[in-house]
Symmetry: C2
Subunit: 215 residues, 2 copies
């Protein structure tokens, strides 16, 4: 298939919103989650598509923050309290999840505005999203300033997992497709998934095999 | 739906491989790509599921590296040469892409071993994967040591994009579902996608609408 070639000058020459759409989608599908926080005045809920796995032991995840609302409120709440929740987005409420990216005034709760329900449990000091099938409680551990574009990576440790037992396989694998967890591309496109296969651990000179039972 | 609650002690108590499977999949679907590099002796190709969008202007992406092969070879090549490619994985060759994670001896090319084709073009100093529908040329810009678990984040700037014109929308959005770009979960599960919708830019007190034409 013939390909269009776009070089650095071509990327730079695009109109701003065109470049934002292009670069946000060109890296492939992304994890998309709702991050719940609170401060002394209000609860906050913001959608993020920059979640990245940092390591399993300790269980660490990273998120990228830019210096603008509503991410800025979430950022400040995480630094002030040390606690945040990461909540999966299901196909039944992805429009409400997207709506949290609107620039509400400070002191306004996105939970209330978009119609999702804050849930407090197991003494965790940040609100979960009650509608989310899978919920994580995360505690702040470190942050890195990315001076190239004035963003910040925040790294947290997963200290609570709330998950329906039926989506947790015997070997620890989470069946995201069965749980109706969705993925996103770019800034505004949401997708459900279909599992192609689970593959065996790869070894030199040995063909990979399916881990799925044919039943 | 009743949920299982796993706290920090519970996560710590899991058998190692169980914890790896759990934490690698609990964060949601991930971008999964092949990273192509070369040194004076050989070409290298490695699968990564830690790609994260850092920003659009300049166009920056991050990748997390752990201090073990085959990621270590890729890491060293990036630092030595400054150049790497990011290649989308399509459903026709995800098993070959997975096979690149086998621990081949140094000097062995994963391209040859798994049966994918190195492609050099537009004077870029690292090999693309010829079979990939969408290919990116990336130049090293910065790195951060994550001391919490001895990993490194490498940040690069996208300086080349190779994409079939039919997958690039007028507004810059890349239609990943149409391009047969796949996503992954955990260490070994691969998924195709189905678009639910593209939504309008969210504003307070205004319902989001679909950006897709009904034709």
């Amino acid at each position: 298939m013939n390909k269009l070639f776009i070089n650095a000058d071509g990327i730079e020459a695009f109109e701003k919103q065109h470049r934002i759409n292009l670069i946000n989608s060109i890296g492939g599908f992304k994890s998309v989650v709702l991050v719940g926080t609170k401060n002394q005045h209000a609860e906050n809920l913001a959608i993020f598509s920059s979640l990245v796995h940092i390591g399993a032991h300790p269980p660490l995840v990273g998120l990228i923050f830019r210096p603008s609302p509503p991410e800025r409120d979430t950022y400040q709440n995480i630094l002030d309290t040390g606690f945040y929740t990461i909540n999966h987005i299901n196909s039944s409420f992805f429009k409400q999840a997207h709506q949290t990216s609107a620039r509400y005034d400070a002191g306004i709760s996105e939970f209330t505005e978009v119609g999702l329900t804050p849930e407090y449990k197991e003494a965790f000091q940040a609100p979960f999203v009650k509608e989310s099938t899978i919920q994580l409680g995360v505690e702040f551990r470190d942050k890195f300033e990315i001076h190239l574009n004035n963003t910040t990576m925040i790294i947290g440790e997963i200290t609570q997992i709330h998950i329906p037992k039926i989506f947790l396989n015997e070997d620890g694998f989470v069946d995201l497709t069965a749980s109706d967890c969705i993925t996103c591309s770019g800034l505004d496109s949401y997708h459900s998934t279909q599992q192609l296969d689970r593959l065996s651990y790869a070894k030199p000179n040995l063909p990979v095999t399916s881990l799925l039972k044919n039943d």
